[in-house]
Symmetry: C2
């Protein structure tokens, strides 16, 4: 194998596939990046067996030669060393040649590296995916849907299925739901499904979605999502991103979401968030980071917390409106801040049904995004 | 105690004195910041008993009222909570009032905190320093002298005196020397000593100098340095920075520095640094991060390294000149990079006296800064 490539492209592709490579793997070949050079260009692959990322660099783009393949072939190179080397090479072009015994020469300017390679034949095959169930999502919407839900997955392995986000497609509507059983995040959107009568119901690991979100640039190009029984594949122009799915039935959450409201509060998100943030300062050390909200006359809500050893804090926030019954409720300051940040709207509506029942946050007049939080019993 | 202060000034002062507060202290009162309000203004103090920092905020500056002291007094408040609270308060002004039982009310806008305070009488006194031995150093020169030497202190406690930097003043010349016995960094400068016939020879802990450097803004205002037997004090307009000195005799290092040279190499610092950096990529895992330099004809020096399990790297660097004997020498890539970065000069001269002897780096024609490195035996 021998090729010459523009270094910038190599850096970008290595950086992307590296995201799937784990330094803690017990499978030696997976510490490497697989490089395949052929007449279509260069393909790099990284994997930790949960996530696999493949990046394709074409021979040319916009009439400009990116990679010049002299001899086809393949090799696996240590991700750790290859990544650092590529980043630090001195010249605009890099020449990579596999010599005897998988020894790989990396040349750029006056700098010459010789890295011990591994046999690409030993690298595991990526899953073959049937493209039966395909839908299309603009990148920025996809990133939104991940960001607004993935923080609410469980970090505990006691119920593994809750460490993932439940993705469902019914009637061209995609819904993403995450819950750790103390709170729930829900985001819905209409999407363009390619397959007729596409229906899916799968649980994608939170970690995979976080990595996917990092790797996607902010733009409105379309990502194709292909779903199978055990794998999901996200496809962009240069990238293939595979993730395994979580096994097990995701709990039915729709009946958890209250449909009525006894107290409704409408408030500026930033003012409310900052008040909760300040109240959390003293509560953080405590068991549950408990913050209390109490409604008063004249559309005032008081946010307070109390830690006997440290002190107490209280702040009155002016709401745009408080409708319904008086309310005293305690909740996790952290969960409240996570939810307020995820909603990404300048104003917010909070619907309470008593101090012991879950409550719901969403942007005024918009139910495509919803955050639910269970209160904390303090009385 | 009661006062109203502009929040920006409070944030700055708390941020500075916090640098001396350690969360790991076993003395509870030292987890706090002492605040004293009197007719001169506000004084904040933080200390971990090795370093103490005092920040003074005057009543007014440039005709503008900064702090309005209603009642004089003092209190100690938890550095951790007070620091975070001050940073997150909503309004431009902050009112602080000590009420019954040291309970301290912190008010800003609609936000009200009540923090449990500690008795300021129990806070340890700062050392009283006789201003016999005083000299003046511009801030930017002081920061330079620290940055160019402090990285070379020992991180091992086996010889505690080597964890500090040896500061000496003789005949209005300040010299700073640090060594971990594998390398040595030296920086000299003429300074303006205030005291007649000032002579000093002290060892200042590396950690103190690093903190001092962080806390000083980049400007050319003068810092006064006051030296006593056990303490050094650095004084700026708003700040007093105290550090204890290290006990024990600092080794005499002048005879370690070779005065002759068998091979002299003159090279562009950046090109040489980057070549060593690349060679270090593969050497890093090894015991000593060993990089080899070999001189060739036509003013070429070859930088290489070899790790049997990973691979090898070699690079030819064009020098501006190589004078004297042929040379093959091995050294720590990390030490070389530290030294090259510390010198902060576009070109560099390296003087070797054989492959087993320490070698010296300095900017061409400038001996106010010098870096010495011991080679590594590899043959």
């Amino acid at each position: 194998m021998q090729f010459i490539i523009q270094r910038e492209y190599l850096i970008q592709s290595v950086q992307d596939v590296m995201k799937a490579v784990s330094s803690r793997t017990t499978i030696p070949i997976l510490t490497g990046i697989k490089i395949v050079a052929n007449k279509e260009g260069l393909t790099l692959t990284g994997s930790d067996s949960d996530i696999s990322i493949q990046y394709h660099i074409p021979i040319e783009e916009n009439g400009q030669i990116i990679v010049d393949v002299k001899t086809e072939g393949s090799i696996v190179l240590s991700a750790k060393y290859f990544g650092e080397i590529v980043r630090k090479l001195p010249a605009e072009h890099v020449e990579i040649t596999v010599e005897d015994h998988l020894m790989t020469k990396i040349k750029s300017g006056s700098s010459v590296f010789n890295l011990n390679g591994l046999d690409a034949e030993e690298y595991p095959q990526l899953p073959q995916i049937e493209e039966d169930q395909v839908c299309r999502i603009p990148t920025d919407l996809l990133k939104f849907m991940i960001r607004q839900t993935v923080f609410a997955v469980s970090t505990s392995e006691t119920r593994p299925v809750l460490t993932g986000v439940n993705w469902k497609v019914i009637n061209n509507e995609l819904s993403c739901i995450a819950t750790d059983s103390h709170r729930l995040a829900l985001r819905k959107a209409r999407i363009d499904s390619v397959s007729a009568n596409m229906e899916m119901n799968a649980v994608i690991p939170g970690k995979s979605l976080t990595e996917l979100s990092k790797i996607l640039d902010d733009n409105d190009e379309v990502v194709e999502m292909v779903m199978t029984d055990y794998q999901v594949l996200f496809k962009t122009k240069h990238l293939l991103f595979f993730s395994r799915l979580l096994e097990g039935n995701y709990p039915e959450t729709s009946r958890l979401i209250p449909t009525e409201s006894k107290t409704t509060l409408k408030v500026n998100t930033k003012a409310f968030l900052q008040a909760v943030d300040r109240a959390s300062l003293l509560a953080r050390e405590g068991r549950n980071n408990v913050v209390k909200a109490t409604t008063h006359d004249n559309n005032i809500v008081e946010i307070s917390s109390h830690s006997p050893e440290i002190g107490k804090v209280s702040e009155k926030v002016q709401c745009d409106g408080i409708i319904g019954e008086e309310l005293k409720i305690s909740f996790s300051g952290k969960y409240m801040m996570d939810a307020l940040k995820a909603i990404e709207s300048s104003d917010i509506e909070i619907h309470f049904t008593g101090s012991m029942r879950p409550f719901v946050l969403h942007p005024p007049g918009d139910d495509s995004v919803l955050q639910l939080i269970l209160p904390v019993r303090t009385y």
